[in-house]
Every structure is written in structure tokens, then in C-alpha cells.
């Protein structure tokens, strides 16, 4: 049965190629398979089903039945959100006409246009969307491998790792040390590690005020640096020590067995060690053969279509597109452009010029929110930043509070936009 169906569809595809026309109506619906149910994948699945009004057969493959957003997960660490508030199901997306499969994609055969799932199922596609987020580079932090994440959590894919990190922070002895090994560029959510430092500091200030925070950073500079440093000085004076590359922050070794970090040859015992390693596109992108040496998947700036394969689109963190930071907002923005491009491709729908946007809010302390954002447009080479803004140092408390409240509105808005 499956074989017949595939053969039949193969015939249709060949026929329509000869006519150089989109999939002919009255035949089987064009199939779009989406791998990854986060900000990119869930958005595009929902928009494709909604805007094609039943003309596309849309399948979403996601390993977790309930999704936990990485964005706002730092607020859970700080005690501002409960864990459940970060979780979203796929019921509404399914009700919107998307076939949701809870499974892990393990292989893509680009010649046969099929996806294989861990459960053994094989799905055919006309267009494939990869939105698998990030995976970690082995060997990025000396002494640490993924197997050590139960001792030294990354907590950079939200879920049990985030809960583990919170339990560890809560179990710290009075006056203990929380260490973070920050990642090298490029990585998911540029302000994320520093918002996390802020949220950990906030929690410690209430419950463990003599504790110390050691931020070990391989980078000279980071996003919103002036805003974070001003905030740490104001809210948590003396608590946060940052060790940049000039002090050995780029050559750290960790020892999970003895809970030590070794900086510049000197071992220091810590109570919690949050290791956020170097990153690359989610593994399925490399398995599909659409990534470059950088570890990320190059895409066309006007559509998010892979530069390697005209039937594949890559969204969000996994893509190498140019100036947009790897963020949930970016992935959601890219998904809408890609949905339009795929509907144009398969159904001849109107395609308007691409406009992309991003805004990242960060919380530094209670009612002290900041933001950075930019507008982006495609150029022949890349998605380029055309305009940007950032919160200023020294803003008054009322503005910072309004910014935080705005971020709550954004979370409600974007999660409704992603998950329905």
C-alpha cells in the first residue's frame, strides 16, 4: 500500500515537473513534513495548515508530547514563573488540521524524499521543513561531555535539565558558589546566559545572600553587556565575578567527578556548575546533509529554503541565515516567511517580499526588564539587519517595569501564535 502510494505520487511529481506547474489540483495533496515542534516548526505547521485551508497535508514530528519553551525558562530559575507555565501541548495545532506525531526523526533520504522515525515509520514528503534547534559540540568544554549533564547540567534545552539546575541551586550550601561556563559564538539566545546569571543572582539574594556567582566566559563581549553589568552592580553588588578570555575564561576545564573548574591551571571547587557548551544545528540537519562546515545549515535569505536542496527548508537556530540572532522570536518570524514561500511553491499562492524581525526581552531583577531588537530584510548574500534598538542604561524604574510587563504580553502572544 505504502509502496503503491509512493509510486503514484512519484508519477505525479514527475508529471508536474514536465508541465512546470505546481502540484495539480484534484490529485493527492502535496505533503509537507516538519521536523521539530518548537518556535519554528510548530509555527510553520500551524500556519501552513491554517493558510492553505486544507490544500496541504501537513505532518509535525516532535519527540516531546509537551513542549517546554527555552524562552522564559530563566524566569523559572529566578522564581518568577512556575515550570508548568512554560509548557505547551499540540492539541490546538492538531485540531487545526496538522497530523502530530510524537517521535524522533532519525534519517532523511533526500533522493527518495522520505523521513525515517525512531519508531520505524517512514514518511514521504514533497517539502521538508527542518526546525530541530541546537545540539552540543562534543569537546567544546574540556572535561565535559553530554553524559556529564546529570552532574553539570547545560539546561540549554528546556525541560528536565532546567528542573535539575533549579534543584541544584536550591540545594547550594549557604555561601556556596554557582559557576557557569558560557558558550562561544554563535549560540541560541545571545542574552540567555546573562539573563540566567541575573535570575540565579535574584534567587540567591533572597535565599542564600552570601553565595557567589562565577561566570566563565570565552567571549570578549556579549549581548546587552552594559545593561547586565549595570544591573548586577545595582541589584547584586559583589556577587557576580566574570572571568573573560583575558583571564583564562576561554580555556576552562571542568571536573564533574570532583565538582571543580580549572581556570588558568588553578582548580576551584564549586557547588553548581552550569556548562553551556558550543553549539551546532540539531543533529537531523547534519544527517540530512544540509549543514556546512560551520555546523549550521545555509539558507536562501528571501525564503529560508536550504541552499543544498530545493525541497528542504531550515528554520530557527539550525539555520545559517546572516544577522538574525538564534531566538524563538526569530524562528517564529522565519517560519511565517517560509510558510508563505512553501505555499507559493506548492499551491501557487501569493508571495510577498520577506520582512523579518526579532526582539529579545531579558529580566535582570524583579520589575527590571530590558530589551533589544532589530528589523531584517533579505539581501542577495544574507538576511541583513537594517535597523536596531536597545534599552538604555540608567532608564527609570517605571520604564523598566513596563518593559517587563510587555515581555509577559509577548510571551502570551507568541505562544498563542506558535501553539494556537
Amino acid at each position: 500500500m505504502t509502496l503503491n502510494r509512493r509510486l503514484f505520487l512519484g508519477g505525479v511529481a514527475a508529471g508536474s515537473a514536465l508541465l512546470s506547474a505546481p502540484m495539480v489540483l484534484g490529485q493527492a495533496k502535496p505533503r509537507v513534513v516538519v521536523i521539530g515542534g518548537g518556535a519554528g516548526g510548530a509555527t510553520i505547521a500551524r500556519y501552513l495548515a491554517k493558510d492553505s485551508k486544507g490544500a496541504l497535508d501537513v505532518t509535525l514530528i516532535e519527540a516531546n508530547p509537551i513542549y517546554t519553551t527555552c524562552f522564559f525558562s530563566n524566569l523559572y530559575l529566578g522564581g518568577f514563573r512556575d515550570f508548568e507555565s512554560l509548557q505547551h501541548g499540540y492539541d490546538k495545532i492538531a485540531a487545526g488540521g496538522v497530523t502530530v506525531i510524537t517521535d524522533m526523526a532519525t534519517a532523511v533520504d533526500r533522493a527518495a524524499k522520505t523521513v525515517t522515525l525512531a519508531g520505524g515509520q517512514t514518511l514521504g514528503y514533497d517539502r521538508l521543513v527542518l526546525s530541530p534547534g541546537i545540539d552540543f559540540k562534543e569537546g567544546s568544554v574540556a572535561g565535559w561531555s553530554l553524559a556529564d549533564a546529570e552532574v553539570m547540567p547545560h539546561a540549554y534545552k528546556a525541560g528536565p535539565q532546567t528542573q535539575l539546575l533549579k534543584r541544584q541551586i536550591e540545594a547550594m550550601p549557604q555561601g556556596g558558589t554557582f559557576a557557569m561556563v558560557a558558550p562561544p559564538n554563535p549560540y541560541r539566545c545571545p542574552p540567555g546566559p546573562y539573563e540566567r546569571i541575573s535570575m540565579v543572582a535574584w534567587w540567591l539574594k533572597q535565599h542564600n545572600p552570601t553565595a557567589k556567582i562565577l561566570l566563565i566566559d570565552p567571549k570578549d563581549k556579549y549581548s546587552k553587556q552594559a545593561l547586565f553589568e549595570e544591573g548586577w552592580q545595582k541589584h547584586y553588588p559583589g556577587m557576580v565575578e566574570r572571568i573573560g578570555p583575558d583571564m583564562g575564561g576561554n580555556a576552562v576545564e571542568v571536573r564533574p567527578a570532583s565538582m571543580e573548574v580549572v581556570i588558568d591551571g588553578e582548580a576551584e571547587k564549586v557547588d553548581v556548575c552550569n556548562v553551556i557548551p558550543g553549539q551546532m544545528a540539531g543533529k537531523i540537519a547534519a544527517l540530512a546533509g544540509v549543514t556546512a562546515d560551520s555546523g549550521w545549515a545555509p539558507v536562501h535569505p528571501d525564503s529560508m529554503k536550504s541552499k543544498t536542496d530545493d525541497n528542504i527548508w531550515v528554520l530557527g537556530d539550525s539555520s545559517a541565515q546572516g544577522d538574525m540572532p538564534k531566538s524563538g522570536f526569530s524562528a517564529n518570524s522565519q517560519a511565517k516567511i517560509a510558510a508563505m514561500a512553501i505555499r507559493g511553491d506548492l499551491l501557487g499562492a501569493k508571495v510577498f517580499p520577506a520582512k523579518y524581525a526579532n526582539t529579545c526581552w531579558s529580566l535582570i531583577a524583579a520589575d527590571d526588564g530590558v530589551k533589544v531588537g532589530a528589523a531584517y530584510e533579505p539581501t542577495p548574500e544574507k538576511i541583513a539587519s537594517v535597523q536596531s534598538f536597545i534599552s538604555q542604561t540608567g532608564e527609570d524604574a517605571a520604564l523598566r517595569k513596563a518593559t517587563y510587563e510587555e515581555s509577559l504580553g509577548w510571551y502570551a502572544g507568541i505562544t498563542a501564535d506558535i501553539f494556537g
Binding site: 512546470s20 506547474a21 505546481p22 495539480v24 559564538n185 554563535p186 545571545p190 542574552p191 563581549k221 556579549y222 549581548s223 546587552k224 528571501d302 544577522d323 540572532p325 538564534k326 518570524s333 511565517k336 507559493g344 501557487g348 499562492a349 501569493k350 508571495v351 510577498f352 517580499p353 520577506a354 520582512k355 524581525a357 526579532n358 526582539t359 529579545c360 530589551k371 533589544v372 531588537g373 532589530a374 528589523a375 531584517y376 530584510e377 533579505p378 539581501t379 548574500e381 544574507k382 541583513a384 539587519s385 537594517v386 535597523q387 536596531s388 534598538f389 536597545i390 510587563e405 510587555e406 515581555s407 509577559l408 504580553g409 509577548w410 502570551a412 502572544g413 507568541i414 498563542a416 501564535d417
Partner: protein, 238 residues
């Protein structure tokens, strides 16, 4: 045939002239040659660049003028920095075109680069060695933004709700389509005129919110009209 029809539809969509895409700054490969010819006698750029006769240019975009602590600037340059001059695409363009016109007492002994295309190429090359927005989102833009002219007959424009529906996906990242209001205001069911007036107030930066200034700033008049038409038809109680 079907595809032909689709193309005709796209071309004839009643949305007026489509906005041009952003332009990359210029030809960075040519810029490298220009840098070697015009600048490298006094300036270094790239990893490991040091100050010579002139300051190192690594990280120049977004840097306050006269702000490197290990370089001795002219009084004029230090003063300009203190007054707020920051090196952006716009200010660097003006400086490279005619250094003394921007900073009258600068010690940079260079007469200026008159050809706009050459300037863009040079700046595209310099931009390669500053922060990347991907890593530091607040970094200086890497493309020239497209501006749209204000039309006197803005309010008379009839918006295309289909185009508005597409554009609205950018709004619904924050503003909920069902009209709920949780820290970010509802924008459904507004009279079109109010919507258009508010959006143009952001576009002209009369209303202060930076996200909205950015979003509205790049919408053409037709696009604002299209959004107004789309959101006006959304029933908040739906």
C-alpha cells in the same frame, strides 16, 4: 497555465509598488583593495590589529568616536566623542567622504573618498571586523535600510486585506489575534483611520515605543492601509 495565472496575480496584486529589499552595504571584496590602497598606511584592521599612526579599526561600528584608551586622539576627535558621535554606517560614510567636514580638527590626513560606491565598498569591508548582530543583536546594522516616502493621501488609501493578513503575522508575534490584552495592547477591531494614524505616528517616531517605531518604520503607506483593513475586520469577540 496555472502558474502563469499565479504570476499574473502576484504582479497585479493591488498593493502598489512593492518595497525594495534592503541593500547590503557594498562590495566588501573591492573594499579590501580600497583599504589597502587608501587606509593601510596608517590603519590596521582584523584580529590582532594594533594602533599605528591611526587607531585600529577592528570593532569600529558602534564604537564611540575617540574612545580607545590606548590611542592618543586629536582634541577635536575626543570632543566629538564626548558630544555623542558614534561610528555608524551613516557617520562613517560622512567621515570617509570628507573627514574635515565632520570632525574639523581631525588629524587624519586624508582628503576623502568622493565616489559613493567606493565608500560603500570600503565600509562593507570595515563592517566585516565589527560585532555581528547574530551574536550581539544590538550591533550596528549591516545593510542600508529602505525608506518610504510619505504620501499626502495616506488616509484615502484602500487597504488590501489579503496583503494585510500576510503582514499581520508579524504583529501576532506579540499582539494576540483573538484580541486579548496581557501587557501588550489589543489591536483588533480598531476603526481603520485610528489604526492608520497610530501607525504613522510610530513611523514618524512621534509615538515613543521602540519596537513599534521599528515595525511601523519599514511599512509602506499601502502596507499600513492593508493592515488597518485586516485588523478592522477581525472581531475581538470572535
Amino acid at each position: 497555465m496555472r502558474r502563469l495565472a499565479a504570476i499574473v496575480l502576484i504582479l497585479s496584486a493591488a498593493v502598489g509598488p512593492l518595497p525594495a529589499a534592503a541593500d547590503a552595504i557594498g562590495d566588501a571584496v573591492r573594499g579590501e583593495t580600497l583599504f589597502r590602497q587608501h587606509c593601510s598606511a596608517c590603519h590596521q584592521i582584523g584580529p590582532g590589529a594594533t594602533n599605528r599612526v591611526g587607531p585600529r579599526l577592528t570593532g569600529i561600528f558602534g564604537r564611540r568616536a575617540g574612545s580607545l584608551e590606548d590611542f592618543s586622539y586629536s582634541k577635536a576627535m575626543t570632543r566629538m566623542g564626548r558630544d555623542g558621535l558614534t561610528w555608524t554606517l551613516e557617520t562613517l560614510t560622512a567621515y570617509v567622504e570628507n573627514p574635515r567636514a565632520l570632525v574639523s580638527g581631525t588629524r587624519m590626513n586624508y582628503r576623502g573618498m568622493a565616489d559613493p560606491e567606493a565608500r560603500s565598498a570600503l565600509l562593507a569591508y570595515l563592517r566585516e571586523y565589527s560585532d555581528k548582530p547574530q551574536n550581539i543583536p544590538e550591533a550596528e546594522p549591516t545593510a542600508v535600510r529602505t525608506d518610504h516616502d510619505l504620501d499626502p493621501a495616506i488616509l484615502a488609501l484602500k487597504g488590501d486585506p489579503d496583503y494585510g493578513e500576510y503582514l499581520s503575522s508579524e504583529c501576532t508575534t506579540c499582539h494576540q489575534a483573538d484580541g486579548s490584552d496581557q501587557g501588550i495592547p489589543s489591536i483588533t477591531g480598531w476603526p481603520t483611520e485610528d489604526f492608520v494614524v497610530a501607525m504613522h505616528a510610530y513611523k514618524r517616531q512621534l509615538r515613543p515605543h521602540p519596537v513599534m517605531q521599528m515595525m511601523a518604520g519599514r511599512l509602506s503607506n499601502d502596507e499600513i492601509a492593508a493592515l488597518a483593513a485586516f485588523f478592522a475586520a477581525l472581531d475581538p469577540a470572535r
